[in-house]
């Protein structure tokens, strides 16, 4: 094997170096938030503070029929996810009398807006149809009834899993909103 001369070595080295620089530049361009398009605008809204939150149970509108197991599963999943956020010293349930003594209590209302009961069998057989979805409006309300923040959130189960999994998906999204609000 012929030994590489000094000139050939430097020539190969410079080609390799150029390649690396080009690759790095290309990867930077591939991340739109860094060089290309600007990333999401910094949040202008101030974060709320509260030592405790109470989840209030809200009835759906009269023309919206939601199975009771779905409503209960939504409520319990939201309680679990609120606790997991660790943003509050205490998460109170709806109707809990001990919440009355908390001065900076925030009340979370989960108001059902829309519900579509899908079918697990249809989902698993067709893949494209049979999704279950539930849309709710979540409101953070102060003790005096002032709405501090509100947002529409939708929970879905599209492909695999039982219908009640939509309530878990919804609760995770509610927890995400709580994380960005507090």
């Amino acid at each position: 094997m012929k030994p590489i001369t000094r000139t050939a070595f430097f020539s190969n080295f410079s080609v390799a170096l150029n390649g690396i620089v080009l690759l790095m530049f290309a990867s930077l361009l591939a991340q739109p938030s860094l060089l290309g398009k600007p990333g999401p605008a910094p949040q202008q809204t101030q974060k709320l503070t509260a030592s405790a939150i109470q989840l209030e149970r809200s009835d759906p509108p009269e023309d919206l029929l939601i199975p009771e197991d779905t409503r209960v599963a939504t409520y319990e999943n939201v309680i679990l996810q609120l606790t997991k956020t660790q943003k509050f010293q205490h998460v109170y349930r709806s109707g809990d009398r001990t919440a009355a003594s908390v001065p900076d209590l925030v009340i979370l209302r989960v108001i059902p807006q829309a519900f579509k009961a899908g079918s697990q069998k249809q989902r698993e057989v067709t893949t494209v149809s049979g999704a279950t979805s539930m849309k709710v409006k979540i409101q953070f309300v102060s003790r005096d009834g002032k709405v501090l923040r509100e947002k529409i959130v939708e929970g879905k189960v599209r492909f695999y899993g039982e219908n009640l999994r939509a309530t878990y998906d919804l609760a995770k999204k509610v927890a995400a909103v709580v994380n960005e609000t507090f």
């Binding site: 939601i66 199975p67 009771e68 409520y75 679990l80 349930r93 809990d96 009640l164």
Partner: protein, 192 residues
């Protein structure tokens, strides 16, 4: 026992001795049979007394009980003063007085489900997993709403074999559990 050591009259012929011995053997077998059948019969009689507290095994608690993991399987029992759900490690009671409402509903579940079932179905070639997905069974869902000592609302969802949720609901209502009239959503062919 002294069955085998009975005193025989020496004047008895060997044929008579044989008959006496055979009849004693038969009597002994009869005693054993009656004793066995008697104990079995008494166990059968005892069963309804034990089932006065209805106990349903293999019930799935979907969500809502503290210290019980979601989708845990256990035994749901109707006690004289409420419901009890017990898994291998934990036990949770719901007193009848704390129950605010009870709902029952019919649903269906896939015969092959869960993460392992999903992977197995995905592994069947030529879309065979979709054929497996066509098989399902009916279940009944029992939703119990209750309050804790502070007035906090709780709800729990159980999945039982068909017919059992309605029986439990009726028994709880007979115990004095509160139930309101419900507007049920229209039935769906294949809900869950």
């Amino acid at each position: 026992m002294t069955v085998g050591s009975a005193q025989f009259n020496p004047e008895m012929s060997s044929k008579q001795r044989k008959i006496v011995r055979r009849s004693l053997q038969l009597a002994a077998i009869g005693v054993v049979f009656v004793a066995t059948a008697g104990s079995a019969f008494s166990q059968q009689l005892g069963t309804p007394q034990a089932s006065q507290t209805t106990s349903i095994p293999h019930v799935k608690c979907v969500i809502g009980l503290e210290n019980i993991k979601a989708n845990s399987k256990g035994t749901l029992s109707l006690l004289p003063n409420g419901l009890e759900f017990a898994t291998g490690k934990n036990k949770v009671d719901i007193s009848t007085a704390s129950i605010q409402d009870i709902f029952t509903g019919q649903e269906s579940r896939q015969d092959v489900s869960g993460p392992a079932g999903t992977v197995a179905k995905a592994g069947i070639p030529y879309g065979g997993g979709r054929i497996v997905s066509l098989f399902s069974h009916n279940v009944e869902v029992l939703t119990v709403e209750y309050v804790d000592s502070n007035g906090g609302f709780h709800g729990t969802v159980f999945v039982l074999s068909p017919g059992k949720a309605t029986v439990l609901k009726n028994q709880l209502v007979a115990q004095g559990a509160k139930v309101t009239n419900h507007v049920q959503p229209p039935p769906q062919g294949e809900k869950p």
